[in-house]
């Protein structure tokens, strides 16, 4: 029996091998042979191009703004000169020379020193950033590490809502309510001063720092918290020695962005800073910022005058500062994202 069966078995295996290596011939009949319809292909391509244009538009606008700003602003360097943006040498009656750092663009002897404007900007932006760092990082730590999930869901949108309040409203609030309150409390030299403006700016910057700090801290793997608590650390030790150092880059990026916003913010400082171009370190004095100068004077300047180009030059400075601050923050955030992928 066995012996007679063997040849048949061999034959079977042979035919099987033959079937295995047979090459498909009728490709058109295969369900895989369906081709893309021309209409679909055109539609896909169209959608692709549509979104590519959308993406490019933002970039094009930035480049155009950049070009326009520089085209107008560079003119100022020709007409006024770099040194005149720093000081003005006034000839006195006795022929001696007095060096002035003043912003008087409409005087018969126009003075274009940017020093008081830069001082004014820093004197509002730096205190605002310090105040906002204190409260913003605190709020971020609270949201990320301390608040119960319910409280976080409730509080985070409220804090972020603050960033959406029109700045003219905040400026008005500081001008009317804030200034009066602190006028009684601190008795400042000027009712509207750098401190009032800085407080107003803080309303905008605290939400930025709080929200970004919370994001940065929450992206830290929970394992690290567990490791710390497992070693007998308290909540405060865990936050201060593990969580904040691990989230340091994210937190500092949020502070840099907040600082950039403080420098670029216009309406609040225009309304609340008093707008007197003082060179001072006294935070209770009126100051004039670069942004407020452009906003207040651009409407009345005669086009093509030195003053007109000088305002554009201020615009270049502002654009450059905020551009680089944003760039630094963006680089830090990107590095952080890469680092957190363990």
């Amino acid at each position: 029996m066995n012996q007679t069966n063997l040849p048949t078995e061999n034959q079977n295996t042979k035919t099987e091998i033959k079937e295995e290596i047979s090459i498909p011939t009728n490709m058109e009949l295969s369900p895989y042979s369906k081709k893309i319809a021309l209409g679909t292909r055109v539609k896909e391509k169209f959608i692709e191009i549509f979104f590519a244009i959308n993406g490019a538009v933002a970039l094009i606008f930035i480049v155009l703004i950049f070009i326009f700003l520089f085209k107008e602003g560079i003119q100022a360097l020709n007409d006024i000169g770099v040194l005149d943006f720093i000081y003005f040498d006034q000839v006195q009656f006795n022929d001696s020379i007095k060096r002035l750092y003043e912003w008087y663009p409409t005087s018969s002897e126009p003075r274009f020193s940017l020093v008081p404007l830069i001082v004014g900007t820093l004197l509002t932006a730096i205190p605002a950033t310090l105040i906002s760092t204190f409260f913003g990082v605190g709020a971020g730590v609270y949201l990320s590490e301390i608040a119960k999930p319910g409280a976080r869901e409730f509080l985070k949108p409220i804090i972020e809502l603050f960033a959406g309040i029109p700045t003219v409203v905040l400026g008005f609030l500081m001008l009317v309510v804030g200034a009066s309150f602190f006028n009684d409390l601190l008795e400042p030299t000027n009712r509207l001063n750098a401190f009032i403006a800085a407080l107003g700016l803080s309303f905008v910057i605290i939400p930025i720092i709080a929200s970004m700090t919370e994001d940065a801290l929450r992206s830290i793997p929970n394992d690290l918290r567990m490791a710390s608590y497992g070693l007998g650390a308290t909540k405060w030790q865990t936050v201060s020695k593990v969580i904040l150092p691990a989230g340091f880059s994210g937190v500092s990026a949020s502070i840099i962005l907040g600082f950039g916003r403080a420098i670029g913010e216009t309406m609040i400082v225009l309304m609340a800073s008093g707008n007197a171009a003082n060179i001072t370190t006294d935070i209770l004095l009126s100051v004039r910022t670069m942004t407020a100068t452009i906003a207040a004077e651009m409407g009345e300047v005669s086009q093509g005058s030195d003053h007109y180009y000088a305002l554009f030059f201020i615009g270049i400075i502002l654009f450059t500062i905020t551009f680089f601050l944003n760039l630094i923050a963006e680089i830090i955030i990107n590095k952080m994202r890469k680092k957190n992928v363990f």
């Binding site: 119960k148 999930p149 793997p221 394992d223 690290l224 918290r225 567990m226 490791a227 710390s228 608590y229 497992g230 070693l231 007998g232 650390a233 308290t234 030790q237 020695k241 593990v242 150092p245 691990a246 680092k339």
Partner: protein
């Protein structure tokens, strides 16, 4: 005659409404290795975290029953949880070193306990690295990032870090599950040496590992403690049918 280090009485744990541990009573002996085995979701890791109150960190967890360590009720309202966690160290499934240097990782525990003296800290670092059998591998790079080490080295560094706060119990939650066989062997060897001085509780998915390293084995299933006995007894002659089915690979 060895003492009972940890004991639980009628311990149940609930995540919101869901009961994750059901009436577990068990005694863990000091200076031995006790292994918890069972399929995923059986409650063995949850039970481990009951022993140093790590579950406190998860919202909506409710516990009934009693847990005693050296006869002290660790769920007493006034108990200092931070002190408890210093006494009962923990090693996690994934090496969770801080993004700092090797040295900074090791002194984290002692320094939050207020040890500032550099000489004492250096002593602790060398001693614990020796205990964790990793001194020779890292002694020349103590001030490099701990995250530059291999996975197995990181896990042994985690053990060293846990030892640095001088605990007397070490809880290990699947400490070798993410490691290659060679690193796993090193960890197991280490566990074997550490049990001279420490009470070790280890959760593992790997039954051979439980058989190799532990003196006693507990089998958990669906939140219940099915069987708890000497490891040799569990693996050669289990009393309960479910235990036998699990260790012979019929389910799990």
């Amino acid at each position: 005659m060895k003492k009972i280090k940890i004991s639980t009485e009628d311990l149940s744990l609930y995540y919101s409404e869901k009961q994750a541990l059901k009436n577990i009573s068990m005694n863990i002996t000091e200076k031995q290795v006790t292994a918890f085995i069972g399929p995923s979701g059986c409650g063995k890791s949850t039970y481990l975290r009951v022993l140093n109150r790590m579950n406190d960190l998860i919202p909506n967890v409710r516990i009934t029953g009693k847990v005693f360590v050296d006869g002290v009720d660790i769920y007493d309202k006034n108990l200092d949880v931070v002190n408890l966690r210093k006494r009962i160290g923990m090693v996690f499934q994934k090496a969770n070193l801080f993004p700092k240097t090797i040295y900074e990782n090791l002194i984290y525990g002692p320094s939050i306990n207020g040890i500032r003296d550099k000489n004492i800290l250096n002593e602790i670092v060398e001693k614990t690295l020796n205990q964790a059998a990793i001194w020779d591998e890292v002694k020349d790079r103590l001030h490099e990032s701990a995250l530059s080490l291999s996975g197995g080295q990181q896990q042994r560094l985690c053990i060293a870090r846990a030892l640095a706060v001088k605990p007397d119990v070490i809880l290990m939650d699947e400490p070798a599950s993410a490691l290659d066989p060679l690193s796993t062997a090193k960890i197991e060897e280490l566990i074997h040496e550490l049990k001279e001085d420490y009470t070790i509780v280890i959760v593992t998915h790997n039954m051979q590992q439980a058989a190799r390293v532990s003196d006693k084995t507990a089998f958990f299933y669906l939140g219940e403690l099915i069987e708890f006995d000497n490891t040799t007894k569990i693996f050669t002659n289990p009393k309960v049918k479910q235990t036998e089915d699990y260790i012979t690979g019929r389910f799990g």
